[in-house]
């Protein structure tokens, strides 16, 4: 046995480390939670790290998982050793190639961080629904249950596939294993060399497609041959089982770590046995051992090699005494007799009996159950409940565990009494903010403990779904034994709360063990801390005998110049109190880790972090705990009592982090949720909020337009409405002529503002006597919270201005309209959301939005609260997300349905003319709906129609009632990021562009895959650093707008609200009004650009002035008037590209690493800007002959409609 070197890594890195070293070609596409595997592989190759044969693997990012699968398929056929990494929908996109790769008996291993497949909702978390969809591909399926296994099985899979020629899908649980940090024994290159056969590689090479020894593969076959040929590979599958076992044996003899196809744990004469695979097997292992020690006759079979399923091995490993078996599936197959593993086990037992290879004393009862969908917790108590079920004479079958199913009553009851940890296990839970660095610090801590002690370590991190102000919860365990607890820490002995505000909205001590230590970051002197605690927290501290330590970390951080980063300080406190390491040693190790982590960011960063460490210990105080509760203040309610019932019952529970408690009956059956829930979640993220000075304000409304969270708004209203206004409510006469005599207010939503300061940055109104003072300045939120909350409540109730009242809609007046997209979870200063908010102001009450997966679908539709909302009439955007790759097609489908309904409604109105009267029928059918007035009138007509229909007793009347609302035009929007529009969804997008149908496409172009962490897309400009372009992208940004222009019949605009607000509004209005396909590409600044988002608008300005981002509108309708369809909205490029690029880290880091390379990129950008301007200028001079511009098809001449008309 060789004692391996230990490393502390997460599951993704564990698998990728092996995959990279055993591959020559790696094609990938980012998808959570597998993205880090591809990123690491790319990083290693970029740094020149070789595989075990001394060559650096070629890593290529493709346009989709389908593309990645195609690329590896090709590489394999040409004789390379290839791999890929994926999950969920990405894996499904690989399915067609997987069948091919397996059908051609190709040695290949892919690594999957198994993730939920989107059904009624998307989920980024882990279960086996994706890998279970691959059962019929012909891939061998090998399941890892832990980080160590993800490392080991990666190697076993790569070795076994070469031996067997059967391709392998190696998978482990998304997040639970992929993101769990653990100390593992590392396989070195010699271990890998010893496992992988050079002869088999040579054979793989010999099978390669080459003109030197040509063969033909991938033929088409007919009924006479296909079937037999398909059976011809059987022997390879038969052999595969033995090969995996042999490989595992070879692996064991080299590493000492022993695995088998199925492994048994537990009582040798167990009567009740659990069958399970994935990380749940670790929890089950831990529980079964504990139960066995108590003398319970229980056992566990861990499934390693799921496909090919070796019946004999499975049956043989079962204790002969087994009487009842529970098979646990982490997937759901609605309508099936049972879930896949359950069916396999039942079939295996039946077949074994038929073949008489079973030695079981009795035929066991077999039941199946579901657990852990979307990373739902699976705990020892649940394992115990499953085994308890098996003691029944008729155990419940097709059960669920971990939820309360009060509808179909599938769920097993369990209590949490079994969730105890051994005394020698250290447990710590940390509540932090995403931006305060808590998770990063804890990852560091885990590495320190892992590397500096003999203890085993585990770190697991839970994130919420918000981007701004996200809450993170870190769970850290250390133990003298390997840690198998694949579940959250049930009773931590150390709890840290890194943000004092959490105490008001999260029950951070709920799980704290009796006698636990509580570390609190409190912005108060030590003698004030106790009195500041809410009543509930004081009570828990006293009742649970908790020791309290406090530090004012934020002040320390500020003092040493670390801003809001309190991570190092809190990490030092943890080590100082927990005693995991001697204090001096811990501090030395923290500094070592700081140096390792931050030395690449510069000496000053390291120095300040060191200073933070040194300043910490003196500032940490134990807080005396009095014997009784002294607080009078309790935790405030999470949502207002005015919130609707649904929000009180559902949303508030989710917001409190107690969604696990909600029973099945509480949920909609089809994933349909109400709008407007974000308004009830008051997150109070901003330390400072804007304050309006009406005396300075010029009422331009730019602040409202740029606000990413609709947290600063403008209204005009009748002075009479001011009755009952709170005393501090501000109002002044409106300056514009259109609403003469009315009052005007700019109001901030103090508890919804994120404090990004975009509004202050764009505000052009300065106090002439003190220009530092603008019409809006930032002021501390806390003292203003109550008064501004009241003011905002009053403001919201003021009457809304309707579009009908606006003589002209422009960037200024548009902001007097109610946004129907508010308080999203987007990043503070987000560059995307102002466009969406504007879209809802302009068209929200009649919009259908198809939203591609990505940032905009997450901040747009991730529970618990969502930002799309309704107006007072209950009208608002209907929103849905289909997939990442198909959004254009999905949106087109919405359009087709709308067009159908409209046509049907018109037909029915015509046919019911006699019943409803000619006048009404004519008014409805002849309405001009091209203006706001027309739309408003049509709404009135439809109301009259609906009323008239109540008196018509005909089946057609009932049919018309169902579709009459479609007589009011609907605005269909296809929204998504550049990853969708430029890459994965481009094929569909192109098809929809070509269709000419009346849909509006809004591309929120951040020039990078923002949601998955900054991978390059084809929208990434040359010279920008992104993942997969770590030295700066060498190829230029794809000109999506120009490609669309070439169709001639597509309305195309490129916009940037920070550069030219009027053009932004105009383009959206024109796009919507255009009776064909419209494409609007919107510059969206993003945190992945690496600068302060408060400067987003000024960067947009620089982008446009330098010509890097052109502004134009291409309107095919202009041709009819003899005008060129292309209009440039920007001037000749100024020499500002350098300034623009140097302001953003994505470009600037290139300059620092390689100034000459930067210079070349800069020249490229300048030249491209000039060239583009020249080209566009010429296009703007082209008048298209009238007859060539009639490609646009509106709803009235859609093909279906025309056919019916004819």
């Amino acid at each position: 046995m060789i004692e391996g070197r230990t490393i502390t890594v997460d599951g993704n890195e564990a698998a990728a480390s092996v995959a990279h070293r055993l591959s020559e070609v790696i094609a990938i596409y980012p998808i959570t939670p597998s993205s880090p595997m591809g990123e690491l592989a790319d990083e290693w190759s970029a740094h020149g790290r070789p595989n075990i044969w001394g060559a650096v693997p070629e890593v290529v990012e493709m346009q989709s998982e389908g593309g990645a699968a195609g690329a590896v398929h090709g590489a394999l056929q040409a004789g390379a050793l290839a791999t890929t990494f994926t999950a969920s929908q990405g894996l499904l996109l690989m399915l067609p190639n997987m069948f091919k790769i397996a059908g051609e008996l190709t040695p290949f291993t892919m690594h999957v961080a198994a993730r939920t497949i989107a059904t009624h909702a998307l989920s980024i978390f882990g279960d086996h629904s994706d890998v279970m969809a691959c059962r019929s591909t012909g891939f061998a399926m090998l399941s890892s249950a832990s980080v160590q296994e993800a490392h080991d099985f990666a190697a076993i899979a790569h070795a076994a596939t070469l031996e067997s020629r059967v391709p392998f899908l190696h998978f482990f649980d998304g997040f639970r294993t992929s993101h769990e940090v653990s100390k593992i024994e590392m396989l070195d290159d010699d271990d890998l060399r010893a496992l992988v056969s050079g002869d088999r590689i040579a054979e793989h090479r010999r099978r390669a497609l080459t003109p030197d020894h040509p063969v033909i593969r991938g033929t088409a076959q007919n009924p006479d041959t296909f079937f037999q040929a398909r059976e011809a590979a059987n022997l390879h599958y038969h052999a595969c089982i033995a090969i995996v076992r042999r490989t595992m044996a070879a692996f064991a003899s080299r590493t000492g770590r022993r695995y088998d196809l199925f492994e048994y744990v537990g009582h040798p004469e167990a009567e009740r046995v659990l069958v399970i695979m994935g990380s749940g097997a670790e929890t089950a292992h831990e529980t079964i051992e504990r139960l066995s020690r108590r003398g319970e006759r229980v056992g566990l079979v861990k499934v390693r090699l799921y496909r090919p399923f070796d019946l004999e091995s499975f049956v043989r490993i079962l204790p002969k005494t087994v009487r009842a078996i529970a098979v646990m599936d982490r997937t759901k197959e609605p309508g099936a007799v049972g879930e896949p593993l359950y069916l396999d086990v039942r079939a295996a037992l039946d077949e074994a009996r038929d073949q008489r290879c079973s030695e079981l004393a009795v035929a066991p009862v077999v039941v199946g159950g579901r657990y852990g969908l979307s990373s739902k917790e699976f705990t020892p108590s649940m394992v115990a409940a499953v085994l308890e079920n098996l003691t029944q004479e008729h155990p419940r079958n097709h059960f669920t565990v971990g939820i309360v199913d009060d509808v179909t009553h599938t769920s097993l009851r369990y209590d949490t009494a079994f969730d105890e940890e051994d005394d020698d296990v250290t447990t710590a839970v940390f509540y932090g903010l995403g931006s305060d660095g808590t998770v990063g610090a804890n990852k560091n801590s885990i590495k320190i403990i892992g590397e500096e002690t003999q203890r085993h370590v585990q770190g697991y991190f839970v994130y919420d779904s918000k981007k701004a102000g996200a809450t993170t919860v870190s769970h850290l365990r250390t133990s003298p034994r390997p840690i198998r607890s694949a579940y959250l820490i049930p009773k931590p002995r150390f709890v840290a709360c890194h943000q004092f505000e959490f105490l008001d909205r999260l029950d951070v001590l709920e799980r704290a063990a009796d006698g636990a230590v509580f570390l609190l970051n409190a912005p108060y002197p030590p003698d004030e801390v106790w009195d500041r605690l809410p009543l509930e927290v004081q009570r828990q501290i006293i009742d649970k005998h908790i020791r309290v330590y406090a530090i004012d970390a934020s002040t320390v951080a500020k003092r040493v110049g670390m801003g809001s980063r309190i991570n190092t300080i809190m990490q030092t406190c943890f080590f100082a109190i927990s005693g995991v390491l001697p204090k001096a040693e811990a501090i030395a190790q923290i500094k070592h880790a700081i140096e390792k982590t931050y030395s690449k960011r510069g000496v000053e960063v390291v120095r300040r972090n060191f200073e933070a460490v040194d300043a910490t210990v003196a500032e940490l105080h134990e807080i005396p705990v009095p014997p009784t509760v002294t607080a009078e203040r309790g935790r405030p309610p999470l949502v207002s009592s005015e919130a609707p019932d649904f929000v009180q019952r559902m949303t508030a529970v989710l917001m409190a982090g107690k969604g696990d408690l909600l029973p099945v009956s509480a949920f909609p059956v089809d994933g349909t949720w109400p709008l407007g829930t974000a308004r009830w979640e008051k997150r109070n993220l901003a330390v400072e909020i804007p304050v309006w000075d009406p005396a300075v304000c010029i009422q331009c409304n730019q602040c409202a337009l740029v606000c990413p969270h609709a947290a600063i708004r403008a209204k005009v209203y009748d002075p009479a409405a001011l009755g009952g206004a709170p005393p501090t409510f501000k109002a002044v006469p409106y300056k514009g002529l259109e609403f003469k005599g009315r009052q005007y207010t700019i109001q901030v939503a103090p508890e919804d503002c994120t404090g990004c300061t975009l509004c202050v940055e764009v505000c052009p109104a300065k106090d002439r006597t003190n220009p530092r003072h603008k019409a809006i300045d930032m002021h501390p939120q806390a003292p203003l919270r109550q008064t501004e909350r009241d003011n905002y409540a009053f403001f919201v109730d003021l009457p809304e201005t309707t579009r009908l009242e606006l003589a002209k809609i422009d960037h200024r007046t548009s902001q007097l309209l109610e946004p129907l997209f508010e308080y999203s979870g987007a990043c503070a200063g987000c560059g995307e959301t102002p466009y969406l908010k504007l879209l809802t102001q302009l068209f929200g009450d009649r919009a259908l939005i198809a939203n591609a997966t990505g940032c905009s679908s997450i901040y747009g539709g991730n529970l618990p609260t969502t930002p799309y909302s309704t107006n007072r009439e209950g009208l608002g955007p209907a929103w849905s997300n289909s997939l990442f790759e198909d959004n254009a097609e999905f949106g087109l489908g919405l359009r087709l349905a709308v067009d159908h309904h409209t046509h049907l409604a018109r037909t029915l109105v015509a046919s019911l003319r006699a019943s409803i009267g000619d006048g009404l029928a004519d008014r409805v059918l002849d309405a001009d709906v091209s203006s706001e007035e027309g739309i408003h009138s049509q709404r009135e007509h439809v109301r009259a129609l609906m009323h008239a229909l109540t008196h018509v007793d005909l089946p057609e009347a009932r049919r018309l009632e169902a579709v009459a609302e479609y007589l009011v035009p609907k605005s269909v929007w296809l929204v998504g990021g550049d990853g969708w529009a430029y890459d994965i969804g481009y094929g569909g997008l192109d098809h929809v562009l070509a269709s000419g149908r009346n849909v509006n496409i809004l591309v929120l172009d951040t020039e990078v895959y923002s949601n998955t962490g900054g991978q390059q897309s084809k929208a990434t400009p040359a010279g920008a650093v992104a993942k997969f372009a770590s030295a700066g992208k060498t190829t230029p940004k794809k000109d999506l707008g120009l490609l669309a222009n070439m169709y001639g019949h597509v309305y195309v605009a490129r916009i940037a609200f920070g550069a030219k607000m009027p053009q932004t509004v105009q383009a959206l209005l024109e796009a919507e009004a255009y009776p064909g396909t419209s494409l609007v590409i919107a510059y969206s600044h993003c945190i992945a650009h690496g600068y302060d988002m408060a400067q987003g608008a000024s960067q947009q300005k620089l982008a446009v002035e330098s010509g890097v981002w052109p502004l134009y509108r291409f309107d095919p309708r202009r041709s009819a008037k003899g005008e060129p369809p292309m209009q440039l909205d920007y001037g000749p490029p100024k020499p500002l590209a350098a300034e623009y690029m140097r302001n953003e880290s994505r470009f600037r880091v290139v300059e620092r690493a390689d100034p000459d390379r930067f210079k070349a990129f800069l020249k490229t950008a300048q030249d491209a800007a000039q060239r583009r301007y020249g080209l566009y200028e010429q296009l703007a001079g082209i008048r298209v002959p009238l007859e060539e511009t009639t490609g646009a098809r509106g709803k009235d001449d859609a093909p279906a409609a025309r056919e019916r008309q004819s």
């Binding site: 959570t32 939670p33 993205s35 880090p36 790319d42 990083e43 970029a46 740094h47 997040f175 903010l433 995403g434 931006s435 660095g437 808590t438 998770v439 990063g440 990852k443 991190f461 994130y463 981007k467 996200a470 993170t472 801003g563 809001s564 980063r565 931050y598 030395s599 690449k600 960011r601 510069g602 000496v603 000053e604 960063v605 300065k766 002439r768 220009p771 990043c827 949601n1011 998955t1012 962490g1013 900054g1014 650093v1025 992104a1026 993942k1027 997969f1028 372009a1029 770590s1030 945190i1087 992945a1088 690496g1090 600068y1091 302060d1092 880290s1145 994505r1146 600037r1148 880091v1149 300059e1151 620092r1152 690493a1153 100034p1155």
Partner: protein, 334 residues
Amino acid sequence: MNLTTEYLGMPLANPIVVGAGPLSDDLDTVRRLEDAGAAAIVLRSLFEEQIVREEMSEFVHLDGHGDSFGEAASFFPSPRSFALGPHQYLEHLRKVKHAVGIPVIGSLNGSRPEGWLEYARLIAEAGANALELNLYRLSADPNLDAAAIERRSLETVMAVRESITIPVAVKLSPFYTAFAHMAREFDRAYVDALVLFNRFYQPDIDVEALTATRSLHLSDASELRLRLHWIAILSGRVRASLAVTGGVHEAVDVIKATMAGAHVTQMVSALLQRGPNHIRVVLEDLARWLTEHEWESLSALRGNMSFEKVPDPDAYERANYMLMLQSWKDVSWR
């Protein structure tokens, strides 16, 4: 004509040194400057504060978003190599050294005492022939008195002087109450040269936008006067060599500076305006003038118009300034 001089203990072929500025950013330009006859080149200043700001800004904006959201542990690839802090500057210094044969002088503006020392050492290790300490700092804090500022500057210079072995120049501003005293104190701190004077970036005001605008205006010959004045006063009274920077545009400026006592003259603005080849023109004019005026070498006239040797030393005194002012007024009224 013998134009040689000695500066910072180094023999130079002539007194034209390219001063700290953007000219040294580009290797081709650096080569052209050498070809045109530049005797030495001072690199653009390494501003510690700028480096620190950039480091911290990246730390906040790149790392600040990491590990905050389930779908992305980071939003940037990890840095490929150590490319922050003074790395780029040092790398450039090495390249310039490699590209030219003339002495290359580093320039440093530190902000913390440790920063001065650390960066000075790095610049020395990177191969600079000498180091110019750019004591550019606006003393805008009303709580900080002159003595404290002067003491801190001296301590910084002394600490740097002790920590490195290459020659050290100090580039000063004229805004000391007792400049001559300060100059002597620096001289006593064994600096090898005094460079007079730093040019401050003076903001302008945009009256429409109500903003202060930052723009660099190039020097003109009128700025030379202040330098001549103080060089003349210091010449012969300090051990350190003297350099003029600011307002040196033509050969006659070089002659004046040398007569006042300067060992070298630094040029930036004139070269930015007219290109590297302007050095050749100045040197040719200089040689011609010396020949025409029958000077055997440039060094022969050095300091002949210094405070110690000028026939009318009162011209360098403040009292005379009043006279000059009055005479100017008289002229204008006539």
